[in-house]
């Protein structure tokens, strides 16, 4: 069973002057355990709409959405989900610790466990020193980190994060990426949206590209990387000196044998590839 299961999801809104706007045009997507899924798309493509449908915040016009096999109409579907909203806001009159206590209670955790897990996640997100201060006084990055902390609190199976890296400084981004990698190691399912290709390249197993409310492509990141190889950079040394050249994939073996014949030593072979960003741009523009 795939823990995130979206089938034929459509969503249309009534926009200005009573015009129907089709925000999602039939999305099919499944994500399983131990998988980190990057949801990539330009602004306004439907990333947030999809995530809000997953969280039951908006009602699909058509299609079914299930988390852990439970339809998202049912609040129980969110019992094992850690959700980080886009640009999150938390009751600012509470302190981080009080907020986590509230979240823990909502998930039905026993106080002792809330205390332990709370300390763990606050320390992990570097908020332990600030835990008793009201959220009102937090910086944007701190609020974002608290968002991650409250998603981690009850140790759920599924993590749904809307732009988890936004508003963070480089240190924070690195920390969140590290956490996502750890979660994969623990066999969790992480689904996050972003418009930054480098983040996907760094942590994702699979990536989905959404453009204008339709999924253009869902693919394994390592396969994209493999398919994206356009040639190789080759460095060789001979008594005459060092030399670098680029060859296409087809000519690599020919070149290698020629160099061997010439008595040169190959010191480096590096694939030259289209990066994910280029790949992404091609897809977006191609549509």
């Amino acid at each position: 069973m795939k823990v995130i299961d979206i089938q034929g999801l459509k969503k249309s809104f009534t926009g200005k002057r009573m015009q129907r706007v089709e925000a999602l045009k039939g999305i099919d997507l499944q994500v399983g355990r131990g998988e980190v899924f990057g949801f990539l798309g330009p602004n306004g493509a439907g990333k947030s709409t999809t995530i809000k449908s997953l969280m039951g915040l908006i009602r699909p016009t058509a299609g079914t959405v299930r988390l852990n096999g439970i339809d998202v109409h049912d609040p129980a579907s969110r019992r094992s989900v850690g959700y980080l909203p886009e640009n999150p806001a938390f009751y600012e009159y509470l302190s981080a610790q009080e907020y986590l206590t509230f979240v823990g209670r909502a998930f039905g955790m026993v106080p002792q466990r809330v205390k332990e897990r709370g300390e763990q996640s606050l320390r992990r997100l570097d908020l332990w020193e600030a835990r008793s201060r009201p959220i009102r006084g937090y910086s944007k990055g701190m609020v974002q980190r608290l968002g991650v902390a409250q998603a981690l609190l009850h140790d759920p199976d599924i993590y749904i994060m809307d732009e988890p890296m936004s508003g963070l400084d480089p240190l924070g981004r690195a920390l969140v990426k590290e956490i996502i990698r750890e979660l994969r190691g623990e066999g969790k399912c992480v689904f996050f949206s972003t418009h930054i290709t480098a983040d996907v390249e760094a942590v994702c197993d699979r990536v989905g590209v959404i453009v204008n409310g339709a999924l253009r492509m869902v693919e394994r990141v390592d396969r994209i990387m493999a398919e994206g190889i356009t040639g190789y950079l080759l460095r060789s040394r001979s008594p005459a000196g060092e030399r670098e050249q680029i060859v296409t994939v087809d000519h690599l073996s020919d070149l290698l044998s020629r160099l061997k014949e010439e008595g040169q030593t190959v010191t480096l072979v590096e694939p030259v590839r289209k990066n994910l960003e280029q790949f992404f741009l091609d897809i977006v523009k191609g549509g």
């Binding site: 969110r78 989900v81 999150p88 938390f90 509470l94 998930f107």
Partner: protein
Amino acid sequence: MTSILLITLKGIFRDRVFQGIMVMALLFLFIPTIGSLSMRQVTELSITLSLSLISFILLLLAVFLGGTSLWKDIEKRYTFSVLGLPLSRTSYILGRFMGNALFLCLTALFLGVITLLVILWAKGLYPPSRPVRWDNMMIAVLFDTLKYLLLVSVAFFFSSVSTSFFLPIFGTISVYLVGNASQEVYDYLHSGSQAVKVLPGMVVKAASLLYYLIPNLAAFDYKLQAVYGLDIAGRGMALTVLYWVIYTTIMLALTAVIYERREMK
């Protein structure tokens, strides 16, 4: 639900609403002085002023807390983080309502105790011509509290259909004014007076319909009975409590139904 209730209560206290009430409660200290301006009914005037002050403070709380409670969560984007938790929207609404209701009850209790002290004081200064009916005073405060709880549920209902705070706040104030007058308008329309007969039948019918739709808040007003120590009919009280339970439940149910279907964009 209790988790929402607790943070609602915490939020109200953290927003220093209670301190505001304490400041307003200082007005109670002036009541015996103002009461002494009366010629023949110092204690009566003191009771009138105290009960009206309680009623006024509770009105402010009902309108401004009740009217902004749901709106603020949407406006400040708290709904995304809260409704992303495994809580049903109904329990969120009920938790919010209970939090506001509990605060209103605590305030009424606090102000009620202050009133008792103030009346004791005024009574000591100027002995009243009629004995003070403490039971009536408590009934008046209790029914005032019920009335404003009902008004909070009305404010919640308006919040569920509106995206701004205008409808909840001004709608609730209008319901408060109309709800206090509806009984008199109804009585007048059915008094068979000559002035009524010239009105088109549609107007009378529409007014009668409104009378049954709009909460009858005048029924909760036991201030005169408390001030002048008049007898209160038990049947009337029982019916009013029943009416309150049903009306408030309907309002909350409608709010929950509408809120369940609402899109959190």
